[in-house]
């Protein structure tokens, strides 16, 4: 047994395993804080297995088992089955449109019987990461070519589009994180820059008065033309480009963003995005809402910022050093909705304050940097791309989830990795991380 163990543990990065264990432990404590009621015999409840924290502990145990299996597996298995599992995942996602089960308004679940439900989109993260790694590590691939870039983007965006069609916007957005991995492999930086600029423009559209923004944009264009007047004289294309960029920006700001908010997004989504920047969204402009009114449904005009407000109150009330373990009034009063899943960070913020949050976030940062380090020491492209994908997914989850609780991002249902309550979320991250560890353990091998 011992020889076997030493074989399994050989080359495994124990730093990450330790971080993993610490984070899962913190997660269970956080769920305990949320569930705890003074005066109840928590030990009995804990052993009874009826509460969320004991369930999470059971999930954690199950995940340990899975992790052990993964570590025991041959790393060639992952390269071999990468494309197959991807195809399987896409098939499952397509299947949900037929046999999907409706949970909380999204038809993205497949019932497995026995009270267990599977969300293929969640699993697809792993499959997409593997498939992307597989594609990128093809021997004859030249990633500088547009064609191969497009195929890579396609691999990533297919499950994203399917997720969006299942009304799982949060999950769909997660697939955007693969762009970081692709950037590392040579995707032109312009795409990231344009993407970030576009994001900035959208935020500016929401926060700044439309006319002011239009004038500002025009001024920037004019100043640019003035500064570059010499170059323009030589190259008239530059002028055309500046004017075109200006036109696109103003077009987005004036027409595209309002159109998207009023016609593409559901009313609640627009409200959430607006409330993230601290504004109210008038639902009467929304197309979906109008059709609802026409259908006789009651129109709601209440600004939907309850969640963000309560979440900010909970985190803000923690202060510098927090209220102490189990002493958070907001947590005990259940003021924050979905506090054991998406808003788990609030319980941490309230109980341990800024110090606790900072330490917690540093743990995460350490984990991410560690994964990036691991990625860079890989010999095979497959392992590296996969490692970057894992880092990107985790990073994206942390960013969106934490930003959402502190009011920097609109509310979308994205879990905090390894912390939030939920079996499938925990399992997904476990699998992601331990496949990486398995690959890393075999980093001397060249995997294709």
């Amino acid at each position: 047994m011992s020889t076997r163990n030493s074989f399994v543990s050989k080359g495994v990065d124990w730093t990450i395993v330790t971080l993993y264990a610490i984070l899962v432990g913190i997660g269970i404590l956080c769920i305990f804080m949320v569930e705890y009621r003074s005066g109840t015999n928590w030990l009995q409840l804990f052993l009874g297995g009826k509460t969320n924290y004991s369930k999470q502990l059971i999930f954690a145990g199950f995940c340990t088992l899975i992790a052990t299996f993964i570590l025991l597996a041959d790393s060639k298995l992952f390269t071999a089955f990468a494309n197959l599992t991807y195809a399987f995942g896409i098939l499952l996602m397509l299947a949900t449109f037929v046999i999907g089960k409706d949970i909380k308004g999204s038809r993205s679940w497949i019932s497995l019987g026995g009270g267990f439900n599977l969300q293929p989109a969640e699993l697809c993260k792993i499959f997409a990461a593997l498939a992307l790694a597989k594609y990128m590590s093809m021997q004859n691939l030249d990633f500088t070519k547009k064609r191969s870039q497009l195929i890579a983007v396609g691999i990533v965006l297919l499950p994203a589009i399917l997720s969006r069609l299942q009304h799982e916007t949060g999950l769909a957005l997660v697939y955007l994180s693969f762009f970081i991995a692709m950037y590392r492999e040579g995707l032109p930086a312009e795409i990231l820059i344009i993407g970030i600029s576009f994001g900035a423009l959208v935020v500016a559209t929401l926060t700044v008065d439309p006319n002011t923004l239009a004038i500002t944009l025009t001024l920037i264009a004019a100043i640019l033309i003035y500064i570059l007047r010499r170059q323009i004289k030589r190259n008239s294309k530059l002028l055309m480009m500046i004017v075109a960029t200006w036109a696109i920006c103003v077009g987005i700001q004036r027409f595209a963003v309002p159109y998207i908010f009023n016609n593409v997004f559901e009313c609640y989504q627009s409200q959430r995005i607006y409330s993230a920047v601290g504004k109210d969204y008038d639902c009467s402009q929304n197309k979906h809402n109008k059709s609802e009114i026409a259908a006789g449904a009651k129109a709601s005009f209440k600004p939907d910022d309850y969640n963000v407000r309560q979440s900010k109150i909970a985190i803000g009330s923690g202060g510098f050093s927090g209220r102490g373990f189990l002493k958070g009034t907001q947590t005990r009063g259940k003021y924050v909705p979905e506090q054991h899943t998406d808003f788990i960070f609030t319980s941490l913020g309230e109980a341990f304050g800024f110090v606790g949050c900072a330490i917690f976030l540093l743990l995460y940062l350490f984990l991410l940097f560690r994964i990036v380090n691991i990625a860079e020491r890989q010999r095979s492209t497959f392992s590296r791309v996969y490692a970057y994908s894992v880092a990107s997914i985790i990073f994206f989850h942390i960013t969106v989830n934490v930003c959402m609780t502190i009011g920097l991002f609109p509310i979308i249902g994205i879990a905090l990795p390894l912390i939030s309550y939920g079996g499938s979320s925990l399992l997904t991250f476990t699998v992601l991380i331990f496949i990486l560890l398995r690959l890393d353990a075999d980093r001397q091998m060249v995997l294709r």
């Binding site: 040579g186 109150i313 909970a314 803000g316 880092a391």
Partner: protein, 721 residues
């Protein structure tokens, strides 16, 4: 390729780092620099339950409780939990209809939100409480909570004690820092108001953690920050409940006031203002109705005439006029003035009751005979005092004396909103007659307590105290001591424990006044009024006033040689001072000094108590009010009947037709009546047809139509006016 893009791993790491820095900055912003979230969290999650202490008790001088606390119950509802309530049976129990139920629920939700328990029906009667208690299981979301309310075992001293009532928004605005909340009760008048801080005690606060639906989760920090309630402290007053009761009885069916003060301490023994009300009327469930009725009552039972009523003092002022003149040195006790039945030195004639020579041969005689000429002359001498060269200066000196005696200034008694009545300023006369164009003659009748001079009963009683004490007084007050007196209380009560020396004239001066006032009771105007076994000093007054019949006034103190009580009595529009006010004053003194009323005099007490001296104008007002009420009731009954009829007839009668045939009971008429009714309040009650009304009073239930005509007539009358 990996070598080619190696630098990008740094970029990725920098992106990670940047985002974390942004998050940390926002966290610093939220957790360290925004205190509002902490506050919001407290407001969210900490429910502060106020534990009400018992209010302090007010005792009389013999330690009898003038008011006590009992428990009353409120029916409280938490609207959000009230689903599934048996509304119908609740409405039947409370005797309201479902429309009213819904209206109240809506109001509560609107005012106090749906998740907070709020009073649905306050101050339940014992019977109703018992019924509700049995049926509580049918009404989820409803609860019976107890509340401490006042009862008044002696049914007395309503205006003095004041009442407690739920605080309103303006009260909350005025007492922002005192920690009141909507739904709290606070003293609104009388001693309850003045000593609110003492009586209310300290409210305890229990902190609970509540969840997002306002359900209590448990004590906050195990009750570490909880404070316990401290009961209100008791007040020990100088009031004698039995004297107070007797005084109230004597003044029943009259409009007027009586104040009795212990001159040695300034402690008020009794203070009555009539018409009065039963203090218990303002505690129970009928509180709102009674309060509304009393506030609209033209005789103003809520108005404490003892400290707010302004009356011309008439002859009761004469002893004071004499003291001032004596102190100024313009007369001596031996000063005499030849009066032949009138005073005509100023052109106008001031009549005197006596003609016989020598009835004003000395101060003592003049006081005993209440000689108008004498005191007019004395007043003129004071004003024209050669020391001041000028009547204005002379008058100012005289006014200064008056103010020192507490006339024309507030005495600062421990009741709210005391009136200072009036001793006119020179500006008043300057305005009326022109600067320096008035003199002692112009204001001559001030000398006999008329002209523009007014005084409140308590000022008159205080004046008696000063005369009885031969020159000093203590500020009249009710509260002698406060239980567990603290520094604040001592500081507040200090003004009632300070001896105010007004003048330092020789004993002989006051002795002359005392003798004169004693003579009043021996052979003067009050010779018919006796107090068994007590020699007392008094002065009657019959004050002319612009509002009708003369006011009957009486001031006195007793016993003559060692004054223990000083009394002032005023009965409005009752004629001679000796007829009504005199006996009332005498009985008050007798009760206080002898502790009982002599058996043979009890019938006299009954006679006075029953004597109805309320001016006819006010009586007419009552009659009319009653008629209107009856008419309204009948109209409502008819309306209900008509509604039922029209429903059963399926509205086959044309509406116009309907209103013509049945002039009452239609919406139109109701509106008309409502339009008329409030208007009537403004009509002067003395209307010729009211005589008819009062005769009709016995059979008010005759016909509605007639009454309607009557109201219309009033309406017409009003528009003409």
């Amino acid at each position: 390729m990996s070598v080619f893009n190696q630098s990008r791993s740094r970029v990725v790491q920098i992106i990670f780092l940047l985002i974390f820095v942004v998050i940390l900055i926002q966290l610093i912003n939220l957790q360290i620099f925004s205190s509002k979230y902490k506050l919001a969290a407290e407001n969210n999650a900490i429910y502060r339950k106020i534990v009400y202490p018992d209010r302090g008790i007010i005792f009389d001088r013999k330690k009898k409780a003038m008011l006590e606390n009992t428990i009353s119950y409120d029916l409280v509802v938490t609207p959000i939990e009230s689903k599934g309530t048996d509304t119908l049976s609740l409405c039947t129990l409370l005797n309201i209809d479902t429309v009213e139920y819904k209206r109240r629920m809506r109001d509560i939700v609107f005012k106090y939100t749906a998740v907070k328990p709020s009073v649905f029906e306050g101050l339940l009667s014992q019977e109703l409480y018992a019924k509700l208690y049995e049926n509580m299981y049918k009404f989820p979301g409803f609860n019976l909570t107890d509340r401490s309310v006042r009862t008044y075992p002696f049914n007395t001293g309503a205006q003095v004690l004041g009442y407690i009532a739920e605080v309103d928004t303006s009260f909350l605005r005025r007492h922002k820092d005192d920690g009141y909340e909507m739904g709290d009760y606070a003293g609104m008048n009388g001693l309850e108001r003045t000593y609110e801080k003492v009586l209310m005690g300290e409210r305890g606060i229990k902190r609970f953690i509540r969840d997002n639906r306002s359900r209590i989760q448990g004590a906050y920090e195990n009750g570490m920050f909880d404070t316990s309630a401290v009961a209100g402290r008791n007040l020990y007053t100088s009031v004698d409940v039995e004297v107070q009761q007797l005084a109230e009885k004597l003044l029943a069916n009259k409009i007027g006031s009586a104040v009795a003060i212990n001159p040695k301490t300034g402690g008020i023994i009794a203070m009555v203002s009539s018409p009065n009300y039963n203090p218990n009327d303002l505690t129970g469930s009928a509180r709102k109705k009674n309060l509304g009725r009393m506030l609209l009552d033209t005789a103003r039972p809520m108005f404490n005439r003892a400290i707010k009523g302004q009356y011309p003092p008439g002859s009761t002022f004469k002893p004071l006029g004499a003291v001032i003149a004596l102190d100024e040195g313009v007369i001596t006790p031996n000063y005499g003035y030849p009066c032949y039945g009138y005073y005509s030195n100023c052109g106008v004639v001031v009549k005197c009751e006596h003609k016989n020579a020598g009835h004003s041969g000395s101060l003592r005689l003049a006081l005993a005979n209440s000689c108008n000429s004498y005191f007019s002359q004395v007043f003129r001498m004071a004003i024209d005092n050669p020391e001041y060269h000028n009547p204005t200066l002379g008058y100012l000196k005289w006014k200064d004396y008056m103010n020192k005696f507490g006339m024309g200034t507030t005495l600062d008694v421990d009741l709210p909103s005391e009136n200072k009545a009036s001793v006119p300023d020179t500006a008043v006369y300057n305005k009326a007659y022109g600067r320096n164009r008035w003199n002692s003659c112009t204001i001559l009748t001030l000398g006999i307590g008329q002209d523009k001079m007014t005084a409140t009963p308590i000022q008159l009683a205080n004046m008696m105290c000063i005369i009885a004490n031969k020159g000093y007084y203590y500020t009249p007050h009710f509260v002698d001591s406060i239980e567990h007196e603290q520094l604040d209380d001592t500081l507040y009560l200090a003004k009632y424990r300070k001896k105010h020396s007004v003048i330092h004239t020789s004993d002989t001066v006051f002795r002359a006044v005392h003798e004169g006032m004693h003579d009043v009771t021996v052979y003067g105007t009050a010779s018919a009024i006796k107090v068994p076994g007590i020699e007392y000093c008094a002065k009657t007054g019959t004050a002319q006033n612009p509002h009708g019949k003369n006011h009957s006034l009486f001031v006195c103190f007793a016993p003559k040689d060692d004054p223990k009580i000083a009394v002032a009595v005023i009965v409005e529009n009752a004629g001679f001072g000796a007829t009504w006010a005199g006996p009332i004053g005498a009985f008050i003194m007798e009760k206080y000094l002898n502790d009982t009323i002599a058996a043979d005099r009890l019938s006299e007490v009954e006679r006075i108590s029953k004597a109805d001296l309320i001016p006819s104008a006010i009586k007419d007002w009552y009659v009319k009010k009653e008629n209107q009420r009856q008419a309204k009731l009948i109209i409502e009954a008819e309306a209900a009947k008509a509604e039922m009829n029209s429903e059963s007839k399926q509205n086959n009668i044309d509406e116009e037709d309907n209103s013509e045939k049945i002039p009452i009971g239609t919406e139109k008429n109701k509106e008309q009546l409502e339009m008329i009714l409030p208007d009537n309040k403004n009509i002067k009650p003395v209307l010729p047809q009211n005589k008819k009304d009062s005769s009709k009073k016995k059979n008010t239930n005759t016909t509605t139509a007639l009454l309607i005509d009557e109201t219309k007539k009033w309406f017409v009358k009003k528009t003409k006016a």
